[in-house]
Amino acid sequence: MHAAWTVKHKPRSLDEVVGNDEPIQRLLTWVKSWEKHVPKKRAAFLYGPPGIGKTVTVEALANDLNMELVERNASDYRTESAVQKFAGLASQSGTLFGKKRLILFDELDGLTGREDRGGVGAIIQIVKAALVPMIVIACNAYDPRLSSLRFYCETIEFKKPAAGVVMTHLKRICDREGIKADESALKFIAQRSEGDVRSAVNDLQALAQGKQTLTYEDVSWLAYRDRKEVIFNVLRLVFYGKSADQAKHAVDMADVDPDMLFEWIYENLPHHLRDPHDLADAMNSLAKADLYRGRIAKTQNWVLTRYVIDFMTAGVAMARRRTQPAGFVPLRFPERIKMLSKTRAERQMQSAISSKIKKRCHISATRAKKEILPYVRIIFEDNAQNAAEMAKWLDLDEAMIEYLAASKKQTKAIVKNLSARQ
């Protein structure tokens, strides 16, 4: 019952295709020109990044012009002989029912390896002899393997649509699904997709399916979810990389900055390198990377970053000598980052109380925090009466009392004591 929204809400007509107005117009003109005569270039070569609607455009176009679309993709033309099978289709101008035919060769990037080279040659042969419009699609038109094919084709570039355009599409889907979506939420999804409409629609479905409303809070965690898969692979390179170079490659793959990557490696390392010697060596390497970070911070000499990278990736990878690979090791989010933000309020509170102690006890706030605060805390936890009097002496406010007392009940007791005194 839950069809993929990319299919369910695929544009049926060119009117519904978002973005790329100009290339679409060019394509339309070229296809229509076949009605008069066979054009000089018998194939159109659509290229551009994935998920921006190249295939969808062709499908919608065939629908609009009431043409029969013969669609093939990479797996169908791996070899010359496989491609030859379509030769017949291309050389006949119409179908039994009088429909015009449109032939689409999709995902040409999928052609790889030596055998497939013949496949490109065969496609060229078909193009040369085609009696019906042919369309080929690839992400990268400048792939050297496709250069000869390109010569026989009308090249049309598709570009990434702007976020606003992607939003129009998302909005239309939400309307059809009966979802009330916040503008900001859709904007977030659209922007994050960077013009990849397909991934935007997938994200929308993942987040909004079955909901009545979609808010910004619903979508903001997306940034993390996505990263998780990437980071998983990156960490695999760092912990299991066979060569130093391979491990260093991890940094290019990661979509987080090196500092954050460092935290991921630091958190997960002991779970992957369990042999004591390997662990010590790997941690030593990580500590060296950190040392270079420290030097950079002190000297602002950013050139040193390359050594940070070396030690945190290759250094860690090469430390693995005895640890046997274990089964699946779950990914752990850097606990330190979470704790840092969680404990920030606590540390601020400690400092505030320590400043109060400092005023009374001839001691620096730093040392008050260490040497006196812990004992004050015990008094507050154990003795409401003494605590109330001490709160008065130190001039603490209620938030401070609550922090020191550690429980609601004790806080109440202290505050009650305090007000009885006043």
């Binding site: 990580l286 009374r360 006196i372």
Partner: protein, 352 residues
Amino acid sequence: MWAKQEEREYCFISVQSSIYTTTEVNANLSYEMWAEKYRPKKLNEMMNQTEIVERLKSFVKNRNVPHCIFAGPPGTGKTTAALCLARDLFGEGYREHLMELNASDERGISVVRERVKTFARIKSIGETPFKILILDEADNMTSDAQQALRRTMERFSESCRFILIANYSGKIIEPIQSRCAPFRFTYLSRTDQDKYLCSIAEKEKVKLQPDGLEAIFEVSGGDLRRALNALQAAASLGKPITTDMVYSVIGRANPADIREMLNLAMKGDFITSRQKLREMILKYGVSGNDIIRQVHIEIFKMKDVPERWKIKLADITGEVDFRLVQGADEEVQLSSLLARLVEAGHDIKHEH
């Protein structure tokens, strides 16, 4: 070293359940930290550091005080001696002639200099023609800041005398040391500390058992502030103070248990050990320097580590210490040290 019999019995002139009586006595008073409440007001009231006190008394008598350095471990009476000296010199209005600064809290030497300037510029009137400035935790100043301080000291030495307080006099630069009269404070003896604690326990109507008293000395090692804090926190439960109570209080006050962290690493549990470290730094705000200092001490105390390994570990500790100076991350560096301990624990086990 041991308290005399009479003194120990002195502790038992105590009351039943202390909590109610404490409040009766203090009904209209606020409840202060005892270390403040019983801080000696005059040099005469100080019961230890006798030689130092005698010299300070002679300063008062002659109405002249040189620049001084009070060096020694925490809780031995440095700040108290400085405050008593000021009070004896200037009487009850001593606050007008005294300024207390703390090098750890003041931001930068420029702030210290500005405040010193405004304070020292106006001359004192009265019998004593100078003011006193106490600069606490002076060993936390960088050597550059100390150089600047030296010039300030010279410029205002007519109108202002400095008492620098430090744990380690070695961290005070030579030129300042040579301008100051040095005073070296030492830990309280068991006898002195027991006497002091018993007198306070009596005043606060706290029942202090002999084993509790012994435990307090055990954990404080002659640091009187720590001893008093432990006593007071233990007393807040309102029960007679025993060994167990003292240790429980100390345990609660120091959740950052370095020894436990090291033992976990030695046993091979790196992850839990790192978690302890993380809590110390993030939750309890213990500085990396403090941790490393304690780690260094603990390494030499660890019983199941071969002597040969201790020096290896000290080497790593030193390296980590130096890296922290270079701006490296405390937790990462210290956990690399823990990883080495895991390795050491593993090797030691397999050597046998």
